[in-house]
């Protein structure tokens, strides 16, 4: 009886080992790329962004051509860390990755982004020149504006009028918008996109006066909704989204300048399906996809041939006067000083 049991157990162990070995060798014999050459893995933020990528790009433009699109959802920082961790791999795990323009710059500086061949993307001929980076493509853009609740305060004139200790705890600051808060404070205090130092005292004064710090854009929106805060700084596109959600909020394009926010996509150097990545990036620039993103998400298109309805354009866009005040960021300056700014933000401002 005992002997039979021993044999059975050994057989079971042996069987399990054989199964594991079989699975391993089968996996090795069929690398992912060989079986999935029609699969495109898109690294993206979750929530609306991912949903709208599927709705406006993946399903209508790529599925008919038999591309299988998979959205790998995560915030930007973990995806950056993952790209770094995969640096030494010959084949990475994603084909395109969505990041802000300064993150795209960072990744290129670290040698992780593929230099793009624009001749492989027919829609690129309509791309606004400012959105064409050698290492990535601007997908949507908006500007950093002042948000305020018209029931609680008069319209502020700009960043200096908003990032002001006089607002006490009615001023909200979003933690993850650290870089843009620092740009805004710099512009309000005589600094520039290449010099954040003058803005630090202003931010510290606001903090001492009781400014509330929120961990996320959504927490900030909730505080605006409940009247916990009356003003703050955010992208115009988000304000449009929140207006659509019934939150009482108005925007002002600051007189000191409107820092641009560009969200775009890069192709990792070790993307397993580069052909698919080019197909996806081309579809991303299709006018239909860009128009839908403007309507659904409130961001401006980055291609010249997208036709946004007038009423939408009026809400998401900027007047010719405001457009003159749009300022692009100094990505090299921000990248070089990012760690130092994070330290200041965490230790001094929030500390």
């Amino acid at each position: 009886m005992s002997k039979t049991f021993m044999i059975n157990r050994r057989t079971a162990l042996g069987g399990a080992a054989a199964l594991a070995a079989g699975t391993f060798t089968a996996g090795a014999a069929r690398p992912a790329g060989a079986q999935d050459n029609k699969r495109i893995v898109i690294g993206t933020w979750g929530g609306d962004y991912s949903r709208l990528l599927t709705k406006n790009i993946n399903t209508p433009l790529l599925a008919p051509a038999k591309w299988e699109c998979v959205n790998a959802e995560e915030n930007a920082d973990p995806r950056k860390a993952k790209m770094m961790a995969e640096r030494t791999l010959r084949r990475g795990t994603s084909d395109v990755q969505g990041f802000s323009a300064n993150d795209m710059y960072d990744l290129n500086e670290q040698g992780l982004a593929e230099q793009l061949d624009y001749s492989k993307m027919p829609n690129a001929k309509n791309l606004i020149p400012a959105m064409k980076y050698p290492y990535g493509i601007g997908h949507i853009y908006s500007g950093k504006v002042v948000l305020y609740n018209p029931d609680m305060m008069e319209a502020p004139s700009g960043f200096a009028d908003t990032l002001d200790p006089k607002h006490g705890n009615k001023l909200g600051i979003i933690d993850i918008q650290r870089q843009y808060n620092m740009v805004a404070a710099a512009l309000a205090s005589g600094g520039s996109v290449s010099n954040f130092e003058p803005g630090k005292d202003r931010l510290m004064a606001c903090r001492k006066a009781g400014a509330r710090i929120y961990p996320s854009n959504e927490a900030f929106a909730q505080a605006l909704k409940t009247g916990e805060i009356a003003c703050g700084i955010m992208w115009k596109a988000r304000a449009v989204q929140w207006q659509n959600a019934g939150i009482k909020v108005q925007t002002v394009a600051p007189k000191e300048g409107v820092p641009m926010y560009v969200s775009g996509f890069v192709m990792p150097k070790n993307a397993p399906n580069k052909e698919g990545a080019y197909a996806w990036l081309d579809a991303m620039m299709a006018p239909s996809a860009q128009e839908l993103f403007a309507v659904d998400m409130g961001y401006n298109p980055t291609v010249a041939n997208a036709k946004v309805p007038d009423d939408v354009q009026k809400r998401i866009g900027f007047t010719p006067e405001e457009q003159k005040r749009l300022v692009d960021l100094d990505y090299a300056y921000m990248s070089k000083n990012d760690v130092a700014f994070q330290d200041w933000w965490n230790k001094s401002f929030k500390g």
Binding site: R10, D77, A81, P215, K350
Partner: protein
């Protein structure tokens, strides 16, 4: 001699067979632990000795303990470590105080609903930490359940600031850890014969003396297991302090995550991870030794 060898032959063979079987059974788990736990730890430790170039956000190969020195010489980080230890000790103590009576009742009850009681204690573990923290966010918010109820009853005029404070984090971690404490204690208390408690009472011991002289020493293995579990979980808490503590409250695990993902400073992140591990292990071992020595007296 030959006879003896022949006589012992099957026994030796049987033992060898058992040894081989044991080795075969141990190997998969050992290989898994070696690959999944030790290998990353070794790599992380090696990274923690590297240098970091902030301007380029690049890790440079080196062998230096600068990251460890930086941690212990910067009050920002030592304060976070102290906060983490303080919260972990407090949470463990509260869990012990709240958990012991509950575990005792569950262990001693003769009710036919005993299984239901145990399931209701285990039930919160079916939900992930972050989901539970999200639930607490609804409860603690300025217009959340607590404030809305108190304001609705007219007990307070302005909402309590609970969300994004240390209080919220402590309550959140206690809620996560309490089932671990109760289950550890309940299983040990259940194994203590009720007759020893009755013997103490029959000899005239008041309830507190019975607890101090009989129940507590006998339940000590459960207390140790529960406090170790609770303390380690609290020291390494990530989701709860991140979601309920907000941007201004800091504990070690979120700081480690921040170093890795936001600053891409893997060497320093690795060093903090090892410091957290070392402090947790040291405090756990020291507390155990102290408790065991006291119990032995």
């Amino acid at each position: 001699m030959t006879d003896t060898a022949i006589a012992h032959g099957p026994v030796v063979e049987k033992r060898r067979g058992e040894g081989l079987t044991a080795a075969a059974l141990l190997t998969p788990a050992t290989v898994f632990v070696a690959i999944a736990l030790l290998a990353p730890l070794v790599i992380l430790f090696r990274y923690s000795l590297n240098e970091f170039v902030p301007a380029r956000k690049m890790m440079v190969e080196a062998v230096t303990i600068a990251n460890y020195i930086k941690f212990f010489t910067d009050p920002y980080y030592t304060t976070i470590l102290w906060t983490t230890v303080r919260i972990a000790v407090l949470v463990t103590a509260v869990c012990l105080v709240l958990g012991f009576p509950l575990a005792y009742v569950v262990a001693r009850t003769q009710s036919r609903f005993k299984n239901l009681l145990i399931i209701s204690i285990v039930l919160p573990l079916f939900v992930g930490n972050s989901v539970r923290a999200a639930g607490w966010m609804v409860v603690f918010g300025n217009k959340g359940f607590v404030n809305a109820s108190l304001m609705g009853l007219g007990l307070i005029g302005t909402p309590f600031e609970i969300m994004f404070t240390e209080k919220a984090v402590i309550i959140g971690i206690i809620a996560v850890n309490l089932p671990f404490m109760v289950l550890s204690l309940q299983s040990v208390i259940e194994s203590i014969d009720r007759a020893v408690e009755e013997a103490a009472f029959s000899l005239g011991a008041p309830p507190l003396t019975m607890f101090r002289r009989v129940l507590w020493p006998l339940a000590l293995p459960g207390v140790l297991a529960g406090t170790i579990l609770c303390f380690i979980l609290a020291m390494n808490a990530y989701a709860t302090p991140f979601l309920l503590g907000g941007p201004l409250f800091k504990m070690m695990a979120p700081v480690i995550y921040n170093e890795f993902t936001q600053k891409t400073n893997w060497p320093f992140g690795g060093a903090i991870a090892f410091i957290l591990m070392a402090v947790t292990l040291t405090l756990t071992i020291v507390a155990n030794l102290v408790l065991q020595r006291r119990a032995a007296r």
